[in-house]
Point group: C2
Chain length 330, copies 2
């Protein structure tokens, strides 16, 4: 039997775990993996904590996402939530539930993706703990912890009338990537088909970029921290579509957010409605200059939480896993 | 339609979330649920973090465990891991993946169980964040965070020859509870059958207690913190059976642990081999007096990591989810 054919069901938990830990960045914790719990330094006496899960079916298809992609994405979406508070990601805890016929090579690819996301997006952040269990449904539940490094946390509720509204990162690109998947990588019955190297190479540059960002989101973590340092009054991760997330920020702050569609690129509808970009929606005092592109202005609260070119936003309201999930698999 | 029949698939994520948050203890965090991430005070500049997952099938059967039981157990096992480091549990993050036909009443029961475990075992600890997603397999991934409150963390590696070995909590009781489930609550084909009130009332007191502890473990969190304060040199949660966990502690410390079977109750084999008790294995300097029952002594490292009445332990080596899982469901 080749190594690639070995499944996790044939190994002990400890063996599977060692295969993961060996591929991860070195622990930066006071106490890293191997004890009942990790111990992490939080020099300013506060810790930022968030959790987000990827589930086979609603969140990914194995025909489309490699193990590396899944490791990368599961880390990236959590790193983004930590950074959205103005905190530097310090540690990930990874709870992995896998069918026992999962190849060990899959687990290695996942570990490599986790490691690459930490290295690319949040250097110094490492996987400091986790849990392995058996499940019929491949599930990757990641918790990310971060340090505010003496910054005030940047909440959703701090936007004030007159603030400038910025977006850090691309808009609508992940949604375009999803369109590429459904239009180019499905069979006649609509089922996902694997992405071959040849098919990927045949995509134009825009579609190839969108596909890459859909499968491996690159939240601009460092820019989010710069935004916090530049005096951001409110910030959040844009994961469910700009319009829906802006509605949440507007409601939390008791304001209206007015977007200028001309600032939203050449497909404003997709920029407003498409999810999974994992950029950041940020507000700054009018006199501040911060990272990102200015896309609108905070107003006194009116009837609508979000305006686009002065009209209430009425488009598709983003992604809700309980409403939008179809049961297709792949 | 009655409320009990409403499923999570008919509601938005926000509606399901509100049904959970309303039943949980009030947040004690600097920033609790509702933003991109929670912010928690860690006054001594360190945070203790662990994650553990319960998966339908390998970890529980719905015929046997109520939603309340699952909430209770998923919190308890994580609280135990935090306390095993000598830390006070401060917060839970709960990632819940559920089939979309899950009744909303189930989610409420789960929230009530989480709340009860916090109140019973770690007052002041609250659910400060989480994630909801759809899955074919009911999965409860909990992360627990704790504060050392200026204590040194108690590692597995600190046991020294001459130390006294204590156990805090009951031994073999959860395993007896598992035996009760398989012997009393299965049909002729071995499939789980629901536990009726009448059947539960017909159990003798010992079996009823064992069943309760199997379904709702009660790790003695406060005693673990007292052990840390009393100068414990090493400590760990006993989750996979005393002998296997003692092997891990002995290996981490480079010592041998010698048990006296007379101190292990009237069923030493079950005390040594049975998992899921979630008590604590602790070592103390010989001159210290700490909580728990003395069950043995730390020796210089010999050939065997664990001795029972001077003989190397050769019994069943505890629970490993990749080896011991049978695919039965219920």
């Amino acid at each position: 039997m080749t190594d690639a054919e070995t499944t996790v069901g044939e190994l002990s938990e400890g063996q599977v775990l060692r295969g993961i830990l060996d591929r991860l960045p070195a622990s930066t914790a006071l106490i890293g993996p191997g004890d009942d719990a990790a111990v992490l330094a939080m020099p300013d006496g506060r810790v930022v904590a968030t959790t987000d899960t990827l589930v086979h079916g609603p969140d990914f298809r194995l025909a489309w996402s490699s193990a590396f992609d899944l490791g990368y994405k599961s880390a990236a979406v959590n790193l983004a939530d930590v950074a959205a508070m103005g905190a530097r990601p310090v540690a990930l805890l990874v709870a992995l539930a896998m069918p026992d016929d999962t190849p060990v090579s899959f687990v290695r690819g996942l570990a490599d993706g986790l490691a690459a996301a930490c290295t690319d997006l949040a250097p110094g952040c490492a996987v400091e703990g986790g849990d392995l269990t058996v499940s019929d449904t491949l599930t990757i539940a990641v918790t990310a912890l971060g340090s505010l490094d003496s910054r005030a946390p940047v909440r959703r509720s701090g936007a004030r009338p007159g603030d400038a509204v910025h977006v850090i990162g691309e808009l609508g690109v992940a949604a375009r990537g999803l369109d590429v998947l459904f239009s180019r990588f499905t069979d006649a019955a609509g089922a996902p088909v694997p992405i071959t190297e040849a098919a990927r190479a045949a995509l134009d540059a825009t579609d190839a970029h969108a596909l890459d960002r859909q499968l491996r989101p690159r939240p601009p973590i460092a820019d989010a921290l710069r935004a916090a340092d530049a005096g951001a009054t409110a910030m959040m991760d844009v994961s469910d579509g700009l319009a829906l997330d802006a509605t949440r920020l507007a409601d939390a702050s008791g304001v209206t957010i007015a977007f200028d569609s001309a600032a939203l690129g050449d497909d404003p509808a997709r920029a407003l409605g498409g999810g999974e970009d994992h950029g950041f929606l940020v507000t700054f005092p009018a006199e501040a200059s911060g990272p990102g592109l200015r896309v609108g202005t905070v107003r006194e609260r009116g009837e609508a939480p979000v305006l686009v070119d002065e009209r209430p936003w009425t488009g598709r309201a983003g992604w809700d896993p309980y409403r939008d999930w179809d049961a297709g698999r792949g």
